[in-house]
């Protein structure tokens, strides 16, 4: 079962990566990259790296891709969305898809309630606690350096973005 899930996610990841490289429109590329980053987050979950999966969704799929889409929209203005939708039939599929997702979530919730609360499993080697301990002991100096790096990047971006008179 995990192998089937891996193959499905891997196929989606490769397809979205190819979409990024082959599609002409950069906005399509950016959206394909979001799909790809989501697939990688799912693979992190399969590997048992929950913290990284959450960070991947928040930092990459959230912050970084918003920045990309923002830059693309500023630099490459596209046509405005007006007139009749040429793919209306496809978009109507959103309703059944959303309903299926809702049913799925409800089933999972009900199944979780039916099952008895599992005993607290011992934390795996790559758990959040282990990463936190590592970051604040062995990797304390690099950790502090990243904050300096982010500050420097912020100042640099402000300098670059300032309009020269």
């Amino acid at each position: 079962m995990p192998r089937v899930a891996f193959l499905l996610i891997a196929a989606l990841a490769v397809a979205s990566a190819l979409g990024l490289v082959l599609r002409r429109n950069p906005i399509h590329g950016a959206l394909f990259l979001v799909v790809n980053l989501g697939c990688i987050a799912a693979l992190y979950l399969m590997l048992g790296a929950e913290f990284l999966a959450a960070a991947q969704v928040i930092v990459y799929a959230g912050a970084i891709m918003v920045l990309f889409v923002f830059a693309i929209m500023v630099l490459i203005p596209g046509k405005e969305e007006t007139g009749p939708d040429p793919r209306r039939g496809w978009r109507l599929l959103a309703a059944p898809l959303g309903a299926a997702l809702l049913v799925e979530l409800a089933v999972i919730l009900l199944a979780g309630q039916a099952a008895t609360a599992p005993a607290a499993a011992p934390a795996p080697a790559g758990g959040v606690a282990a990463i936190g301990r590592l970051l604040f002991t062995d990797y304390l100096l690099p950790f502090e350096l990243t904050s300096v790096l982010l500050l420097a990047a912020m100042v640099g971006v402000l300098l670059l973005a300032r309009r020269r008179a």
Partner: protein
């Protein structure tokens, strides 16, 4: 369980696609996104190796890569926007000089 080699193979494929994107495309934004793709493929390999080793070191490394990538994207996009203000056209073929 999924064997580690599968993760490494997927990582290699994604990295190759990212490198192809860097070589094939001319739009600096798409090239930049391809670099992110390759970076993520490397991260996946790091996590796979880290889980095989059975400690959190690989994940800590990926955490740092993510922080550096965030800084890199911010600065890179600012540079692209700054170049675009002067050039009005987005193609890396026009940017072969390190000045504008």
């Amino acid at each position: 369980m999924v064997p580690d080699t599968w993760y490494l193979a997927l990582s290699a494929v994604l990295f190759t696609i990212g490198v192809c994107g860097v070589v094939l495309r001319r739009n600096p934004l798409v090239i930049f996104m391809s670099i992110e793709l390759a970076l993520n493929a490397a991260n996946l390999a790091l996590v796979a190796f880290g889980q095989r080793a059975g400690n959190a070191e690989g994940q800590a490394l990926v955490f740092f890569v993510m922080a550096v990538a965030a800084a890199e994207v911010a600065v890179g996009l600012a540079i692209i926007v700054a170049i675009f203000r002067v050039r009005e056209r987005l193609s890396v073929d026009d940017l072969s000089l390190m000045r504008w």
